[in-house]
Symmetry: C2
């Protein structure tokens, strides 16, 4: 039986070497550079290792080579539905390349993010910062010490993949204007968020270009609750349509509407962002498509390109988005 070892004790290269009647170096080669050994010896050593339950010690290997086989990914909030697909794709891509991934949750805090980076730094080959809340100077400093890829944060000179929701947001405004809306609310996301800035600016510009009013409403932190609480201000603003920072916030808005016996689009037209609610809300939420899964995968690949020593010092990968029309947009109420 191949599982009867002393608990909490690992088999080392030396034991395999002795059991196989070879030197430790040979065992090492059998695992790290098999092609330099006679195929037969490799097979024999591997067999012995198998029955002994030996597995190379990553830590020791890392200390010796400097390559840890780990990367880290830090997000502001794991529970925000925008991130899980990104995390999952990143983890899959890493797995394919025999890498392990650390996960960090910054809880929307730059300080926390910095603390996480510090802990990861010593045991990873590179970092992915998704929607980083860190000041630009700090990001630059980190990038100078560790390979770094940004997601949804546009810092010149640092490799980054951006989901360009500005286009979708502008489309949203134009669509609402075409329906007859003349005053549109933008329900804000986190102040330190690049995506939030992109959307806010896009909405403002598109509104200005169409000659309609745009009023920005703070929602502090993107969440269902924030959206629900924003409803009062939205209605009070006299706007007939709203674009929210993300779908989570939008779902809150929808709920806040329901609570008041109102509904979209009859009382308010609504557009979300990220397309994570799918057709799961009622009415099905119109939104701006996102591509977080792809973003995660691409970020990992860019990071690996850097690690392989290719001069990918200033990649800027932009993913387009589009308006996804479902059931929350319509003409303004007659009032």
């Amino acid at each position: 039986m191949a599982g009867s070892h002393k608990p909490f004790e690992r088999v080392t290269i030396s034991q395999v070497a002795e059991a196989a009647g070879v030197s430790r170096a040979t065992v090492s080669r059998a695992f790290s550079r098999p092609h330099v050994l006679k195929a037969e010896t490799v097979a024999r050593i591997r067999a012995v290792a198998q029955t002994l339950g030996y597995a190379p010690n990553q830590t020791a290997r890392a200390l010796s080579t400097g390559r840890h086989g780990n990367i880290a990914i830090i997000v502001p909030d794991v529970a925000n539905p925008f991130f899980p697909p990104l995390i999952r794709a990143a983890q899959e891509a890493a797995y394919e390349a025999d890498y392990c991934v650390f996960l960090g949750n910054s809880d929307e805090s730059g300080e926390r993010e910095d603390g996480l980076v510090g802990r990861f730094a010593g045991q990873v080959e590179g970092l992915i910062l998704a929607s980083s809340r860190l000041p630009e100077a700090r990001i630059r400093a980190l990038a100078a010490m560790k390979p770094l890829v940004l997601v949804n944060r546009d810092v010149a000179g640092i490799p980054r993949v951006l989901i360009d929701t500005a286009g979708g947001a502008a489309d949203g405004v134009r669509h609402l204007v075409a329906l007859g809306h003349r005053r549109i609310v933008y329900v804000t996301g986190p102040a330190a968020s690049w995506s939030n800035e992109q959307r806010r600016i896009a909405v403002r510009r598109a509104a200005a270009a169409a000659g309609v009013e745009m009023v920005a409403l703070p929602a502090v932190r993107p969440s269902f609750e924030a959206g629900r609480k924003a409803v009062a201000a939205i209605l009070q603003s006299g706007a007939t349509a709203a674009i929210a920072f993300d779908d989570l916030t939008s779902q809150g808005v929808l709920a806040g509407l329901h609570e008041r016996g109102l509904t979209a689009p009859d009382s308010l037209s609504l557009i979300g962002c990220d397309d994570v609610a799918g057709p799961m809300t009622w009415p099905p939420l119109s939104t701006i498509s996102s591509r977080s899964r792809e973003a995660g995968e691409i970020a990992v690949h860019i990071l690996f390109d850097i690690l392989r020593g290719r001069g990918v010092s200033d990649a800027r990968y932009v993913l387009d988005t589009a308006l996804v029309l479902r059931g929350t947009c319509g003409p303004p109420p007659q009032s």
Copy 2:
């Protein structure tokens, strides 16, 4: 300025030792056991380290002590909304204790899960397996080699935290029966899932006890799509109510209903599980409450208890659940 070092190069304990005019051991102590040194020496060494930009190398430390300061958590699907709160809570609890967490996505596959465990094993002090898809024997073997905590998997002798949805599921059946339903569908989850078995059995028993029919319908993998596709079979079964493996599946069922111009509870009463859809669906989904956030936090704390050497060899922590009534349950259609 304290950030001007050669990129990608770390300063070691020796350089600090030389610069501070002490031995390497002393520098080491200044960071790992400061209280055994004169406060003044600690301060001086720390100052030197600061200006040199020194930070302890986790990998070397781990190799020497055997303590990596890392744990790993493996889930079947990061993108399944049941897990992000669990992951997040686990990561927060680990952060408080100065631990880093590896994340693995098994993609509902036992083999994948095993592969992940193998990679993590060498660099973590313990593992958390959430909804493990591994055979029981394998879990036992792993637990014999590494501290291990299970979530939603009941293996005697292995520390585990269980979300007992059986109670909620039985309540659900009784509620449906009280409303007048006489044939109830259970839309199945993954075969290897402990939670699925719990729910299936609970529904069957409660149905039997109430003298009503229960028909089990496979949904392969818990997902929106699986639920959507299950609608045909549900309707064909002649049942007037359904309990689904989870909220994700339920949302799919709701969508499938909408597609056919039907709705809950008029055409079908529906109960989900996990309470992750909240009031976001339409109609708001009745469901069985879950407590994945707590489960994640507790699992980490149990793991730490084990690591601290307390004899927590057979913890069995059970979290109760309850039926959460919203808007998808009603009397059966007259037909």
